[in-house]
């Protein structure tokens, strides 16, 4: 097992060997040829411009990197499986969308940098699958991945102490727990089912419910307010995330469950609860007020007195 990245891994990587290489140059082809690689898992699609780079750098990493990787795979005789981690952003988010996207829904509506990159990448991957029918190509379109250790635009947005949200809109969101992402990748490698699959935790949750569960106060802002966060260096709210946080999106995972045979262990709600565990609540005053009011009710008082007399 070989990991390829431009920065060395920080912690223990177990029995994996590591090659420091840039995906954009042909070194990657040498790695694949030399090590007789039979399975390629492509996880390197970045969703936000890097600190130094900017949009053109991001596009180069995403699109040119994928093209290099696919070119290397096509030349290799040993590659049998290709797994690409894509994203549900490829469907876009607008008021004209169906409630639940299936894998056959069109993806051309996607606007914005990241979503456009992913749409292009998926196009190249489909082209590769056509040219190399002997390789099992699986694309996973994942909902927003969250978890206590995940750092992404979505999690940094949800970690804000005061969550700004678009005035008058309550988008439907879906989450995927990071463990389920790893589980799904492992499952795909074992089962070798080709195709495109939506991956998300069960159930959808409106943003209003998400912030209530996180016990975080919100600030309704007009449409440009979410964009200001980026200029204020508070959080990176990309155009596609802004669209998602306005209109919401749902992806249908029936095909993943029935054809791929994978079912996420965390539902959207469970993934969010796990994410919320490490978070310090910044709100929740109303809940405490209601709880204290409940404790003041005569029956609750009587129960307490009874309990005290039983104890004492």
């Amino acid at each position: 097992m070989i990991g390829v990245d431009v920065v060395p891994p920080g912690g223990d990587i177990g029995g994996m060997s590591f090659v420091r290489a840039d995906i954009r140059n042909p070194v990657i082809a040498k790695v694949i040829a030399k090590e007789d690689v039979d399975t390629v898992v492509h996880l390197s699609i970045i969703s936000t411009p890097l600190a130094g780079g900017g949009r053109s750098m991001m596009k180069e990493l995403n699109v040119i990197g994928t093209m290099q990787l696919l070119a290397a795979c096509q030349k290799s005789a040993t590659v049998k499986t290709l797994v690409v981690k894509s994203t549900a952003h490829v469907y876009g988010a607008s008021s004209r969308d169906p409630a639940m996207f299936t894998e056959t829904s069109e993806t051309r509506r996607a606007g914005g940098g990241y979503a456009k990159d992913v749409a292009e990448i998926e196009g190249y991957v489909r082209g590769f699958a056509r040219r190399r029918p002997d390789v099992c190509v699986t694309t996973l379109r994942c909902a927003n991945v969250i978890g206590p250790k995940v750092h992404s635009p979505m999690t940094s947005y949800l970690r804000l102490p005061l969550i700004p949200r678009r005035l008058g809109y309550d988008p439907r969101l879906q989450f995927l727990h990071e463990h389920d992402l790893y589980g799904a990748l492992g499952h795909v490698l074992r089962s070798e089912v080709a195709g495109t699959f939506n991956l998300a935790g069960e159930g959808v949750m409106p943003l209003s419910q998400v912030v209530r569960r996180l016990q975080r106060p919100t600030l309704p802002v007009p449409s440009f307010g979410l964009g200001l966060l980026k200029s204020a260096h508070v959080a990176q709210v990309s155009p596609e995330l802004r669209a998602l946080l306005t209109f919401g999106r749902g992806i249908d995972t029936t095909r993943t469950r029935e054809v791929l045979g994978f079912e996420p262990t965390y539902s959207t709600a469970a993934a969010l609860d796990d994410f919320a565990q490490d978070l310090v609540p910044t709100g929740g005053r109303v809940e405490r007020a209601i709880a204290s009011l409940e404790a003041q009710l005569p029956s609750a008082r009587a129960q307490r007195t009874l309990q005290e007399s039983l104890d004492g």
Partner: protein
């Protein structure tokens, strides 16, 4: 607050506006009269108030002390410590009084009711509820939206429903209705009546404009609506929901008053294809009365275009009376569900046959139009 020092007006220093010279007439009248009979009303009012106090549970501690202080000798600082009536009432009696008051207002079962309400409130605040994949919040709809609209449906429009036996009690079905009334009030009322009479939630299909608008869009999703597209319609029908569709769309709802009860074109018949593909019955619904709630006498197309809405209504009261013009006229409503049109006899390829789709669309349209005419004949007048 309890130990605040109360200084009755005109008891300390020289009354007046601080000129240092003669006090004003009003200040002299307020100050304790040096001679002559005291004005009667000033004497009466404070004596009556303390007697009422024990029953009046909600009064704050400082309030009862104020009239009492008026009787105090002038120039002596008064505080509630020494003579507030509150001091003599133990806490337990306050609680008992509150209990009795609550029982008076909310009935014998007030406590479990309040506990249930608080539990509901807490569930909402902590986000401990479930919405379905379309964003339908059943609890919120039941406890908030429907309860809010119910009096309007029953008391204001006095809706009469006929042919309720034509609505299937379970399984998917497509309710197709005429559309009118400038604002989609007929959709909301159909939701309320079906909820009250059959216990089923109608899931309306709305135009994309509804979901583009702030507040309206999120409320519509919470109320069970979703976008009127074949994917969502078929998904809901396969899921066994009672789906409502208004195929006239904006053409129907925004038509002038002079064209009332004339059905507009029924779109492209997409709803028929969806019903054919899923094999659910089509239930035609005719609504009489919604045309008169906001009689549309004019339109401002230029402004509507600028605002991005299909029409900007002028009714006899809007925008003339401003927000008051948004109150619908209390017309008498009749709703009739027609006999269901079965689609399960057609095979799967029927949805791809345009001629069949057009025929079924026309059949539904004709049924609704004929029922509208017969209902109009039965109605005594617009408001009765």
């Amino acid at each position: 607050m309890g130990d605040a020092e109360i200084i009755p007006i005109g008891t300390r220093g020289r009354p007046g506006r601080g000129t240092g010279r003669a006090p004003s007439a009003a200040a002299r009248a307020l100050a304790k009269p040096k001679s002559g009979p005291a004005p009667e009303p000033v004497e009466d009012a404070p004596t009556a108030t303390p007697a009422d106090l024990p029953q009046d549970a909600g009064v704050a501690a400082a309030a009862p002390a104020a009239p009492a202080a008026a009787e105090a000798p002038a120039y002596a600082p008064a505080s509630t410590h020494d003579r507030g009536p509150l001091r003599h009432i133990p806490l337990a009696e306050w609680q008992a009084a509150l209990d009795i008051a609550a029982r008076e207002i909310f009935g014998e079962q007030w406590e479990p009711q309040l506990a249930r309400f608080l539990a509901f409130l807490r569930r909402r605040v902590t986000g401990d509820y479930v919405v379905d994949e379309y964003g339908f919040d059943a609890e919120l709809t039941q406890r908030f939206l429907v309860s809010l609209l119910r009096p309007i449906a029953h008391k204001w429009f006095r809706i009469e429903v006929r042919g309720l036996e034509n609505v299937p009690t379970d399984g998917g079905a497509l309710v197709v209705s005429n559309h009118s009334g400038t604002l989609p009030m007929d959709g909301l009322m159909t939701m309320v009546m079906l909820n009250d009479l059959t216990g089923r939630s109608l899931r309306p299909l709305g135009a994309d404009l509804v979901f583009r608008l702030p507040i309206v869009g999120s409320l519509a999703r919470k109320g069970g609506a979703t976008l009127a597209c074949s994917e969502d319609a078929e998904r809901m029908l396969r899921g066994g929901e009672l789906v409502g569709v208004w195929p006239e769309g904006f053409k129907g709802i925004g038509k002038p008053y002079s064209e009332r009860y004339k059905l507009q074109r029924f779109g492209r018949g997409g709803f028929v294809s969806s019903a054919l593909r899923t094999g659910v019955p089509i239930v035609p619904l005719s609504v009489v009365g919604a045309e008169e709630i906001y009689p549309l006498v004019g339109n401002i197309p230029a402004l509507a275009k600028a605002l991005g809405v299909p029409y900007l209504p002028i009714t006899p009261f809007f925008p003339l009376l401003g927000p008051l013009g948004a109150i619908p006229l209390p017309s008498k409503w009749l709703m009739e569900f027609g006999e269901p049109i079965r689609t399960d006899e057609y095979d799967a390829s029927a949805a791809e046959d345009p001629m069949l789709v057009f025929n079924v669309t026309d059949q539904v349209r004709e049924t609704i139009q004929q029922t509208l005419y017969s209902l109009l004949m039965q109605r005594q007048s617009v408001f009765r």
